[in-house]
């Protein structure tokens, strides 16, 4: 098989595009405002907060019980039967980088997404 002149052009374009894709891959950030609910380190749910149209309640079992409520753009622990209730007192979280956790029940709600050009915010 003989390569035509046009074929070399196509191969060159693809090589350039592939390299560009490869270079951009490691810094690609998550979509803005995704709430991830974890328990014992395992992801239970991932929710695009901006796409919530009506409030949803999520119940988690375990050593204790957590009730999480999610609304458009925000999420919180609504109630819990853990001893300290710090998770409930944290209130609503809505910004990328924020998190709430019920340490006794080993559950975490975390909002991930683009942190405005940084990889992490110290002191958050």
């Amino acid at each position: 098989m003989k390569f035509a002149k046009g074929d070399y052009v196509i191969v060159a374009i693809v090589l350039i595009a592939a390299c560009a894709l490869w270079l951009s891959f490691p810094v690609k950030k998550g979509q803005n405002g995704v709430a991830t609910i974890l328990q014992n380190g395992k992801i239970i749910r991932q929710i695009q907060l901006k796409e919530i149209n009506k409030p949803e309640t999520i119940r988690l079992g375990g050593t204790y019980h957590n009730t999480i409520i999610v609304e458009k753009g925000r999420i919180r622990y609504q109630s819990a039967d853990c001893p300290d209730k710090i998770c409930v007192h944290t209130g609503w979280i809505s910004y990328v980088g924020q998190s709430a956790a019920c340490l006794p029940n080993k559950t975490i709600i975390r909002i991930t997404g683009n942190l405005d050009g940084v990889d992490f915010v110290s002191g958050s």
Binding site: D7, Q98, D116, G123
Partner: protein, 340 residues
């Protein structure tokens, strides 16, 4: 021509699969906080799940004073002068905490526990103790009254207690860093509760990690500046992290060992940047309590320690050594910028 099209489709997939480093990520609760670790390299996910997570959980059990029967609980419940034999790693961190207490002349003091118990920050028992209660317990706070001999630890005064909360997460950061490096990981970002964090190497695209320093006034994760860095540990202590308001006064969790009350600092937050996590953790608490001038005087005497301070009067002050890596972003939020 058909082969060309096959080549066109397969090449990008091949490049992506063969060149992108494997990403591993874990988020879990331990050490009374949320731990997040992201690492890039061979078997990164397996290392994080099978080795790192159990190691941090082990550290948690060795350093906590919240669980009955844990090493620190046994020490804290011991009679005066009685030697308590503790696991070697618990003793190692206790010794380290005493070393930093000595270096800061007791401004960081791990024997603050009897006073911290009265305040109950971060627990359901959070309250404003009376001055009498604090005065009564204040003599119990003195790191010089802890005696360590090999794996045996004792207190010289009745009622003393130790809390490694001011150094434990920083020490754990060092463990995370060491373990990942030993496993050949060359790029990683980890955070233990948001206050203690660190990075290994650079990002996988070869650029420096970008760490935002939180704006103390912001409910969201807005920041007053960005530090570009690699292979470094960072710890931030701020009066906005755990606090309550009683009788119109704001009480925060950074307690001054000299008074037993929330430190009356000229600062809103203190960020320490240095190669050692335990040091960064202990020093961020200490320099917050010291305040602006003493903080810079102290850090100038410590090799390789950089500071980013946010003051009550909305100034952001950065060590000269860090200035070339720092981009100030606080102007729109009413902050001014100084290099010292």
């Amino acid at each position: 021509m058909r082969r060309i099209w096959g080549f066109i489709i397969i090449l990008p997939l091949f490049l992506l699969c063969s060149c992108a480093p494997q990403k591993g990520q874990v988020s879990f609760t331990a050490m009374n906080t949320v731990i997040d670790i992201t690492a890039y390299g061979n078997d990164a996910q397996k290392i994080l799940e099978k080795e790192m997570t159990p190691r941090i959980n082990q550290l948690d059990s060795l350093l906590t004073n919240k669980i009955s029967g844990a090493p620190l609980d046994r020490l804290n419940s011991s009679a005066t002068g009685k030697n308590v034999t503790l696991p070697s790693e618990t003793v190692k961190v206790l010794s380290l905490s005493l070393e930093y207490a000595k270096k800061t002349n007791g401004i960081f003091d791990p024997t603050i526990a009897p006073i911290a118990d009265l305040w109950g920050f971060g627990t359901s028992a959070e309250c404003l103790p009376s001055s009498e209660e604090i005065t009564k317990r204040l003599p119990l706070v003195n790191y010089r009254n802890v005696v360590i001999s090999q794996n045996q630890v004792s207190f010289t005064q009745k009622g003393m207690k130790m809390d490694l909360g001011g150094i434990g997460k920083g020490y754990a950061s060092d463990i995370v860093s060491d373990l990942l490096r030993k496993k050949g990981i060359k790029s990683a970002l980890f955070s233990l509760g948001g206050s203690s964090s660190g990075v290994i190497g650079k990002k996988t695209d070869g650029s420096l990690w970008k760490i935002g320093i939180k704006d103390p006034d912001s409910q969201a994760n807005e920041f007053i500046g960005i530090l570009s860095c690699s292979d470094i540990m960072i710890s931030t202590s701020g009066d906005y992290e755990q606090y309550f308001i009683a009788d119109g006064i704001r009480y925060h969790h950074i307690l001054d060992p000299k008074t037993g009350f929330s430190a009356k600092s000229s600062l809103r937050s203190a960020t320490v940047v240095c190669p050692n996590g335990a040091m960064a953790d202990a020093y961020s608490t200490a320099v917050f309590i010291m305040g602006e001038k003493a903080a810079f005087d102290f850090c100038k005497s410590q090799k390789g320690v950089g500071l980013i301070l946010v003051t009550q009067d909305k100034r952001v002050i950065v060590s000269k050594a860090l200035a070339s890596q720092f981009v100030f972003k606080g102007k729109d939020k009413g902050y001014t910028y100084e290099i010292r």
